[in-house]
Subunit: 406 residues, 2 copies
């Protein structure tokens, strides 16, 4: 007798057969006496093909109108699931973003949820309906349709779960849960049973693509228990929760690897006030997000300045910084696209010392040179040469005791 929000991604609703499977799963949860709200993505591939259709008109389609176009993807799957459930004699009703009162700001293409009214959802639940909500979409204060950006249906689901004070938000996906590392890189990867919001946030921002990062922020803010699990089997997946004593006992929960960054080194930058602003403002002006920044500690009046940018922005960033270097009198700008950022993550780190040194020692033992280091309270990241990425992940996974028991 719980209130359960279930979110199914694009692969889970990729065709009529799979939509029927989702319907069976949802119906089963409903039959157990639970209230059920289902959030759906578009069929896999549909969003991309809609974008492709718009790009045949113009390379930069109007963002407001692109959102109107993209919103049809989730509208389609929501209607089809409701039709399927009705055909099985379950009382199902679909709601679009505006009908479910998913209110967002006006950032078309990447809108943020401001709040969820959910009056209509509650009414339908009170009458024992299964409520099917089109994910990824909302409505701005002027009544325009907005979309939430890649993976936005996760955020729809968690925000709706928060508004309804749901007992759990189940995120159905094509993997069994969150793993200690990418199983394709490290066959000894284990499924994690429980993980804290903080750890999940670090993992999401480091390229583990199971959950959209904003959905985790939402879950953390409103204490929504999130259950990441497979839509293709009945196994229990990973619970994302507030940290607890059990989690704190584990020093490192996961190892991640991000190969989507590139490194830029500006050599011999004059050490005068305001120089950092001169280097980074032109990047920010073009919307290029700088991740790690290290200022070398050479003696004298000039320092090396090293930082990372998304690999997709690398060429443009190099152009910009070559101009900057000339203006400020730096020696030269070097770039390297072939890097990887490996990280160890764990809330237990807060109470344990020696994690960093163990990490550095493990990499050194494999002969892997560390190019950059950055840390947070629950994470240590090292940038290394890309060719060592898999080796580093396996070494760290083993060193921190995460390997699956044989």
């Amino acid at each position: 007798m719980a209130l359960i929000v279930q979110k199914f991604g694009g692969t889970s609703v990729a065709n009529i057969e799979r939509i029927k499977n989702v319907a069976k799963r949802t119906a089963k949860t409903f039959d157990q006496g639970n209230d059920v709200v289902v959030i759906l993505s578009a069929m896999s591939g549909v969003t991309d093909s809609l974008i492709e259709m718009a790009s045949r008109i113009t390379p930069s389609p109007d963002k407001r109108e692109l959102d109107v176009l993209l919103a049809t993807g989730e509208q389609t799957t929501a209607a089809l699931l409701a039709i399927t459930l009705q055909s099985m004699n379950y009382p199902a009703k679909s709601l679009l973003g505006f009908q479910a009162e998913v209110r967002t700001d006006c950032s078309f293409g990447n809108a943020r949820i401001v709040d969820v009214g959910a009056r209509r959802i509650r009414e339908l639940l009170d009458n024992r309906n299964i409520v099917v909500v089109a994910g990824f979409q909302g409505c701005d204060p002027d009544g325009n349709i907005t979309t939430l950006g890649r993976g936005g249906s996760d955020t729809s689901a968690v925000a709706i779960a928060a508004a309804l004070n749901a007992d759990v938000c189940e995120i159905y996906t094509d993997v069994n849960g969150i793993y200690t590392t990418d199983p394709r890189i490290c066959p000894k990867a284990r499924k994690i049973n429980r993980i804290s919001y903080e750890e999940m946030l670090e993992m999401a921002s480091l390229g583990a693509k199971v959950l959209q990062i904003r959905s985790v922020e939402f879950a953390k803010k409103y204490h929504v228990p999130v259950h990441v699990r497979s839509s293709f089997n009945e196994e229990v997946g990973t619970m994302v929760l507030n940290e607890d004593a059990e989690m704190e006992g584990v020093v490192v929960s996961a190892v991640t690897c991000d190969m989507n960054e590139a490194r830029i080194v500006m050599k011999q930058v004059p050490d005068v006030p305001g120089i950092a602003a001169k280097v980074f403002t032109p990047l920010a002006d073009e919307g290029i997000v700088v991740d790690m920044i290290i200022q070398g500690t050479q003696s004298g009046e000039k320092n090396d300045l090293t930082f990372t940018v998304p690999r997709t922005n690398f060429k443009r960033a190099m152009e910009i910084e070559n101009k900057v270097a000339e203006e400020i009198g730096a020696e030269e700008v070097l770039g390297d696209e072939n890097i990887a950022k490996v990280s160890v993550i764990g809330v237990g780190m807060k109470n344990h010392s020696g994690v960093a040194s163990k990490m550095f020692a493990s990499l050194a033992a494999e002969g892997i040179n560390i190019r950059l280091i950055s840390t947070s309270e629950i994470r240590i990241s090292c940038v290394i040469d890309e060719k060592y990425a898999e080796l580093a992940v396996r070494a760290l996974h083993s060193a921190f005791g995460l390997d699956r028991e044989e």
Copy 2:
């Protein structure tokens, strides 16, 4: 400096190239200083393929949910046209049915427009936007998405034109206008320059599929001038207007032919009170619409009862009436699917006598037997054998002076 509503059907927006053509046309009207509102249908074939998708789940999909699904078709074209206009540097904004405040009743799949708020459209026009509205869809009092039935975009366009008090509602289609008869049947068919709402209503209900009948009712009620014209050329089409002296001078404006009906004859029906109700109530209960009804005038206690039903309902109607015949003691039920209803239409008929006799004489001269006759103030219809349909149309077209001058 007029306010012009333009409606483009499915063939006019069938692909990106054609949407670009629509954009050019709309932009030209805008450049001439007019305010422009564009109403779109779904790309041709899309509505059918969405229905087909739903029918792969169940033969009778839930109507509310089917409307949510179908509404994506017009949403897609509206967004694509707005994207196209924006890419040409025209200020365009799309609106869905609920955003344009197209308020309907709750009859999913066949909703009737109750009223159009149009506040949002006016606001956008005041800021010199081209407003693109998704046709065919509206919103019921509970905020559910509804659709208006086949050809519903015509009604969207006329209703919005009425709400805005537009100077004209242009209906773009794949023909050059309304013809005196079907040019595929009669090569001498001429385009009509001006036709009255009443005549257009008779033509629409008799199978001339250029305009949805409800859109004509709307136009008549609110005196909206409708211009039916081709989206593939610049020719002036047909104006649908209040009747005027010029129209009244023409006795017969058009000849139509409807081959979508079937005839049922119940022989020797006892002539007692209440018998008609017993024959027709079971049909009404199944939603079968009876068109013409003729009760024979034989002497004695038994009469033949003849009527027509849509050909798609013919088999079911025969099953029902065979049962009825047994119950009421009628002799037998005969059916004929191979009939055609040819009609002559003209507001001038009101002031001219002899139209009926001229029609009967023309058919007789070709050796065509008349099976059923029905009339209205501005129409005379005869049911004949289907095989004579084309011959009858050509004979009547010529007899009433409608042939194109060579």
